[in-house]
């Protein structure tokens, strides 16, 4: 019985997250409203729970790509620009490893939400934050389509986007659990 009560606490300490069922100590700071938080929260995680309403298709995305000047930096088909390529130059094949097809965001990203978050946050250059939710859904659809991740008729919205299966699957390294005062990689480089 005694062990059972201790274990959850020990677990919490191990995870580095102390149990903090307590009130504020200083009472400094203001409580933001739900709307305020929603307006500020542009971090779209893998579950997509933060995604705003809206929708976009591949065809619409192709139009947005031209209209917003994406081609100016990334090239007409995503490979001719001076900025990072948005489409792999190396075709998929039975003996072609995804990691060898280049550092292509809409191909290599582990989640489609990462592509949405990236465009919404950081594009277009010098006009960041000006795209509408519909435009970001449409661009995401277009970029996933030109990399053969989704079929042409796909409509992306807050429900369908997190369900897109990215080709990388789980073939990428997760970061090791971080603990204070611990070597970054045990045994390196001996």
């Amino acid at each position: 019985m005694g062990t059972r009560r201790v274990l959850p606490i020990a677990f919490a300490v191990l995870m580095g997250v102390p149990a903090l069922a307590q009130g504020p100590t200083y009472g400094v700071g203001r409580t933001p409203s739900v709307e305020e938080i929603r307006a500020w929260d542009i971090s779209i995680g893998p579950t997509g729970e933060e995604l705003p309403p809206g929708r976009g298709t591949v065809k619409e995305g192709a139009l947005v790509y031209r209209a917003k000047g994406c081609a100016g930096c990334h090239g007409a088909t995503g490979i001719e620009g001076t900025s990072p390529n948005l489409k792999s130059k190396i075709p998929a094949g039975p003996n072609v490893e995804l990691w060898d097809r280049g550092r292509i965001l809409p191909l290599r990203a582990p989640f489609a939400t990462t592509v949405w978050d990236y465009i919404n946050r950081a594009m277009p250059l010098n006009r960041e934050g000006t795209l509408t939710a519909d435009e970001v859904y449409a661009l995401t659809a277009f970029l996933l389509y030109i990399n053969d991740v989704i079929p042409e008729e796909t409509v992306l919205d807050a429900q369908s986007l997190p369900k897109v299966k990215m080709p990388i699957g789980d073939r990428y390294a997760s970061l090791p659990e971080w603990k204070p005062r611990t070597p970054r990689l045990k045994g390196y480089p001996e």
Binding site: G16, P24, T25, P32, E36, S43, L105, D117, P176, R181
Partner: protein, 414 residues
Amino acid sequence: MGSKRPARREFLKSGAALASGFTLGAAAPAIGQTSASPAMIKGDKDYIAYGARSRFVTSVRIAHGGRPSPDAFGLVFHVAAPLQDSVGVITPSSLHFVGTTRGSYIPDIDPREHRLMIHGMVDRPLTFTMEDLKRLPSVTRLHFIECAGNRSSRRAKTVQETHGMTSCAEWTGVLLSVLLKECGLKGGASWFVAEGSEEVKGASSIPLAKGMDDCLVAYGMNGEALRPQQGFPLRLMVPGFEGIFHSKYLRRIKVVDRYYMNYNDYGHLDQDAKVAALDYQIGPKSVITFPSAGQQLPGKGFYEISGLAWSGGGAIKQVEVSTDGGKKWNKAEFKGTPQRMAHTRFAYQWNWDGKETELLSRCTDEIGQVQPSREQIAKYWNKPFDATFSVPGLDNSIQPWRIATDGSVTNGHA
């Protein structure tokens, strides 16, 4: 300010001005003074309000990585600190290295308008003004920040080029743990996403355990407010982690239960778990700053070899210096007490016999990690050690400096 300074200099250069006015120490030397008195700097408003260094001190930062800063559009990319001229452990704020996610303009933020929001898996989301943050208990700590791209190469000609993307300052602010406790963490919370207010709103996922251990929400740097290039008015310090985690212009912290794979996280995506581990907490690293490549020794004789050591694993425990290309290693002395995740100044007294040799330094941190040579690293990865070898993850390998018989110092990797 810049437009006024030349006027002052002209005044100083003008002997007539000196002669006509007060005798600024020129006429009757007191006993023990030389008769040749230096020129004088006349005070002006700016000089009194916010001093300037001597016009004879010309040490400056340089663009790093082959991309101009500023570029033709005024964008700032990466800028390296002149470590070859450094003394002590603090990098002056004006010379602190700068990194931006991609070439960017520097946000010009009115601190009265700035807010930090903490939300997500917390009992009480809170928004803090700068005034709020300054009411809370503060800490002041020395910490280095190093860019992941701080990599030595065969082409680099000076220590500024090989190692200039690290700097160390005294940071003042509130421990993130204080703020997180004020909000109350919910069970299951394991990561947080830190976000800045620059143009890309760069976001990084950081282990909550790190956030509760020693992260700092800093508003002060070297005794004054942060500089705009360093995130004014607020930046996150993640001591010992790669520079990119130290979010500038910090506006939001979201407590979550998983790795969020947002903007900067995608940049960290690795295939190999070992490389991923090395792209995170910085390993033990040291470099000799004097004598270093590009400098010239006037002749044989005594020199105090001086350098910097640091580690993301904690405080530096030991530094060794070799003056014979790595055959014999000698214990270096510390100038001051090594601090956790801070530059530590080391020194070794050396009599140069005038013969060609190679100077090296290596360090050990408080958790026993030892700075490796490139050869050791190549062996670890089972790769041939040749010109094509590139150190995976952040390069913390030993830097050799070659001393030629004429006293010239060059990069030992070249």
